[in-house]
Amino acid sequence: MNPIPEAEGLYSTLRKRLAADIDRFDALVGIHSGGAWLAERLQRELAPSKALGSIDVSFYRDDLAQRGLGRSRVRASHIPFPVQDARILLVDDVLYTGRTVRAAINELFDYGRPARVELAVLVDRGERELPICARYVAHTLPQPLPAGERLELARDEAGLFTLRTLRDEPPTTR
């Protein structure tokens, strides 16, 4: 079985891995909501002068007919920098099937043609359904989680991260 990893420790690992490379990027973009929190903190602690954006991929998902909208509140995406020719670090909490990242990349391209997009995640839980991989990963789960179990980041009032598992409502194609 997989013990749930400790999120603050993973965050430090990710930050360390990114510290040396942060100047390879012009902007950080977090995927709502866990990735947006991560990107915000990484930007604050590593590169306050770099642009920060956030993306909610709800409008780019490939499963509207199966899941519908409106289960959770959709946030406006916020990309306050020119995407054209930008070197972008996309940040998410958990990398799973790759569909969310696919949607985020599609959305970014509707703002312009980035020079490069790379991916940083806290946890890679494996079982990809698309050819997507992250360049920066703090932790890879040794075994797959049971299907229907969701792993996601939470943030408390003090801004500290924890990871938690939730039973996903069926059907899931996240």
Binding site: D56, S58, F59, L64, G68, G70, V74, H78, D110
Partner: protein
């Protein structure tokens, strides 16, 4: 309670009217419109949410603005939009409304946006789709007769919330030809559901329906009295084309008594906003100085209307999903 626009799980299946629409559904639409507003401000104003869906704009009554905003909303969701100018098509050859619907369903329609001069026409279509087992086809009422114009009502609520946040402390006045106005009916239903602080209805006796008090509205026949200290002024268009019989002495007299002028608007709160569903009869129900003035939010209403219609369409299209 069974409601023709909700499915067995209480989710929105069609948008036919704001009467009896639960508060949660109303708020869900308003909340969802917000991120769509961001989409409409982008360089590429398009998201792929309804890609491959066919939306039929069925306008049995003319309306350039409403049809255009529905068309833009559907296109910004990447749907394929087909505009049917029905007055020049088969219905004039005697094809019935439901035959038209059946034919378009055979062309694999996913959604109908319907404007019709007869009250209840969209309900008739929704019932017919259910009887045919075509529950996956959705109907949006874009205005039927004197009955309802739910997306206008929703965009008006979005506008009020955008500028004034909370409804409970607000005094809102609806001014003008309420009798002929489906917009007013939808606004009253939504304002009541959302718990507006005070609802006022202002107009000449001949243009107000009886029984408005049962909706909790305060009725005024004097614009100056009615506008005192209101937060929101919702003007209605004087519907010349719907006016049968002599309900008004003259347009000039109407303007003098019920036209919104800067001088009358001064009686409202200093930060009151002025709304109008368009098209404007300048110099009749509203002066240009007000319509183009600093408190007018008439053009933002149009922009919000696109986001609200995008929200409604995506909510409906996502309802094929299981609970």
């Amino acid at each position: 309670m069974s409601h023709p626009q909700l499915d067995e799980h209480g989710r929105l299946q069609h948008l036919l009217s704001l009467d009896g629409l639960p508060r949660e559904v109303l708020l869900q639409i308003l909340d969802m419109a917000e991120p769509f507003l961001e989409v409409t401000e982008r360089e590429v104003k398009k998201v792929p949410l309804l890609r491959g869906k066919s939306v039929f704009n069925l306008f049995f009554e003319n309306s350039t603005r409403t049809r255009t905003t529905f068309e833009i909303a559907a296109k910004r969701l990447s749907a394929d939009v087909i505009n049917l100018n029905v007055s020049t098509s088969s219905t004039t050859k005697g094809e019935s409304l439901l035959d038209t619907i059946d034919n378009l369903c055979a062309m694999n329609a996913d959604m109908f946006v319907v404007r019709h001069a007869s009250s209840g026409a969209p309900f008739l279509i929704a019932r017919h789709l259910r009887e045919r087992g075509l529950e996956h086809v959705h109907v949006v009422n874009a205005g039927d007769g004197r009955y309802a114009h739910p997306t206008q009502g929703l965009l008006d609520m979005y506008t009020i919330r955008h500028y004034k946040k909370d409804f409970s402390g607000l005094t809102v006045a609806i001014v003008g030809d309420v009798l002929h106005s489906r917009v007013a009916r939808s606004e009253i239903a939504a304002l009541t559901t959302l718990g507006v602080g005070e609802l006022r209805v202002i107009g000449p006796k001949t243009l107000l329906p009886v029984g408005l008090e049962q909706f909790g509205a305060r009725v005024f026949h004097d614009l100056r009295q009615g506008l005192r200290d209101v937060d929101v002024v919702m003007m209605l268009r004087l519907q010349n084309e719907r006016m049968k019989g002599a309900l008004l002495p003259s347009k000039e007299e109407y303007h003098q008594r019920f036209g919104l002028t800067p001088e009358k608007l001064a009686l409202a709160k200093p930060d009151a906003i002025v709304m109008h569903p368009g098209p404007l009869n300048r110099g009749i129900e509203i002066d240009s100085a007000v319509a183009d003035g600093p408190r007018s939010v008439i053009l933002p209403q149009v922009t919000f209307g696109i986001a609200v219609r995008m929200a409604v369409m995506s909510l409906l299209a996502g309802q094929g999903a299981q609970a």
